[in-house]
């Protein structure tokens, strides 16, 4: 449908510079430049390295997305950008680019929420989101269970990790096993040849009195690391494949169990899984199995749409346009702790300089 909104989305909340273009729920372009290799030797994302890379990659990535989509910028109906949450300095590069682009082209600007974008991206794969949708977001940055009845206006947090993100646990265990960074894909690979029942690692927060939908991976991380160290101290060889499989099983068991329970409790018959960890083959398989058993329809976008990208931001931006949500102001700020309950940052309607006190970012702006 040619009258669906044509939107370009920009994502820079972490280490991927993403620019995507969608028409309504149709994906036209998904260009991503990653600085992950520059962070690998540090074992994690270095904010300043990420921010520098975003600045260098932005214009070429916008160009690439436009070519891929076969459109000209003048045809766009709006520009969307991740306003938060994320790394403050990294977000600011994307927000600056989006504002300048929207202003120069005379298009409305939509500052949107990174987490809501992770949910909305599934529209590009499986069509309009059912309302309500339960969403399990799992990545190096998030482990959240969210319920949304309207992705542009109502996202409710059901549960979240109380310590580490699921993806972080994968990175940590991969490091202990000397498998490199990032840990997700490599653990998945080794786990395929291992026995998931070989070692009984703990399932965090699954006791009868524990919060039903919150997660904890810190205890599991420590238990796995201790188990490996004990083996090494005893001079025994570490069964890398079995450790990877048993660790992975502990993570995905808890994630899927809680997600399915939340769907049942809330009477929701759709579950979507997003975020980088959604690329994990065992998570997909176990979720499929458990959703089928519970009569729930599972929606998981292809791996490239699960990790951070610009298409997800464009998808949510297009929905904002389609539902007539108000555009953001030119003084839109990057908000490193934008609440998950704010799917976007609507404008206040007046464009003069605000004199209210802005929340000062926790990150040192000079680092």
């Amino acid at each position: 449908m040619a009258d669906e909104p044509l939107v370009l989305g920009i994502e820079t909340s972490c280490d991927e510079t993403g620019v995507g273009i969608v028409r309504g729920t149709t994906l036209l372009a998904d260009a991503v430049a990653s600085s992950v290799d520059e962070h690998a030797r540090f074992g994690g994302v270095v904010p300043e390295v990420a921010s520098r890379a975003h600045l260098e990659a932005m214009v070429p990535t916008i160009d690439r997305a436009l070519k891929e989509a076969g459109i000209t910028a003048r045809d766009l109906d709006g520009i969307a950008v991740t306003a938060g949450p994320g790394l403050a300095g990294a977000l600011l590069v994307g927000v600056s680019a989006a504002k300048a682009y929207a202003y120069a082209l005379g298009k409305p600007l939509y500052g949107v929420n990174h987490l809501a974008s992770h949910i909305c991206v599934d529209q590009l794969e499986h069509g309009p989101l059912p309302e309500p949708t339960m969403a399990l977001l799992v990545s190096g940055g998030h482990s959240s269970l969210l319920l949304s009845s309207d992705i542009t206006s109502d996202v409710r947090p059901m549960g979240a990790t109380i310590d580490d993100a699921a993806g972080e646990a994968f990175d940590k265990i991969a490091r202990v096993l000397n498998l490199g960074f990032p840990g997700g894909p490599v653990i998945d690979r080794y786990a395929r040849e291992g026995d998931p029942t070989a070692i009984a690692f703990p399932r965090g927060l699954t006791g009868p009195r524990d919060p039903a939908y919150d997660f904890s991976f810190s205890g599991l991380k420590t238990a796995v690391a201790r188990w490996i160290e004990a083996k090494r101290a005893a001079g025994e060889e570490v069964p890398v494949r079995d450790v990877a499989a048993s660790f992975q099983e502990a993570v995905v068991d808890v994630l899927t169990r809680k997600a399915v329970r939340a769907c049942k409790d809330e009477g929701v018959d759709h579950l979507m899984i997003g975020g980088g960890v959604a690329a994990n083959s065992r998570l997909r398989a176990l979720a499929q199995e458990r959703c089928e058993a519970a009569g729930i329809r599972l929606r998981v976008p292809r791996p490239k749409l699960c990790t951070d990208n610009g298409a997800m931001v464009a998808a949510l931006g297009a929905e904002m346009v389609a539902r007539n949500r108000s555009a953001s102001d030119w003084d839109l700020s990057a908000d490193s702790s934008l609440p998950v309950t704010d799917p976007h940052v609507p404008g206040t309607g007046h464009t003069h300089d605000h004199d209210h006190v802005h929340e000062v970012s926790k990150e040192n702006l000079y680092s």
């Binding site: 540090f42 994302v45 300043e48 390295v49 202003y103 580490d164 993100a165």
Partner: protein
Amino acid sequence: MLLLALDTATPAVTVALHDGTDVVASSGQVDARRHGELLLPAVDRVLAAAGVKLDAVTGIVVGTGPGPYTGLRVGLMTADTFGLALGVPVHGVCTLDGLAYAADIEKGPFVVATDARRKEVYWATYADSRTRLTGPAVDRPADIAERVAGLPAVGAGALLYPDTFPQAHEPEHVSAAALASLAAEKLARGEEPAEPRPLYLRRPDAQVPKNYKVVTPK
């Protein structure tokens, strides 16, 4: 010629429009923590004051620092993207050169210094307002005291450390008007200003914060 100039490399968020002969309109605000919020509205105000639309601009001029990175990138990213959207060239000018130009000193040598935080200054020396002799560099004021002894100095970095720069004076902050005028002079002479790339001068702190990717509100 119609140049839009902007600089966010220092606490000043400054924008100016230059028609090749004169500064047509300008804006300057000092707020070290709100570059991202202030810049676009300032561009909008300056254009409105001049009664022109952005697409009338024939080139973008941007301060390339050195400066604290987060703020510095706001101006550079904005300039780069304006250049892309409008299909016009983006010219870089060292922020310290802009301050030297605004200082309007015919005969040097003199020093320009801005605040680099962490008890350091970004600094350069000039033979006159248009000719840089050394720098830019980043150093502790005490470590360069001998090299700048007896020289007049301008900029917030000089005013901040009177022990090293006893002859410090105005201008304190860079103005986009000065950057634009300097760039216009160069372009009129057929000279190409610098690439619009950031002068960081320091390597990134390669430190992974604890819970480095955790962004989900608890």
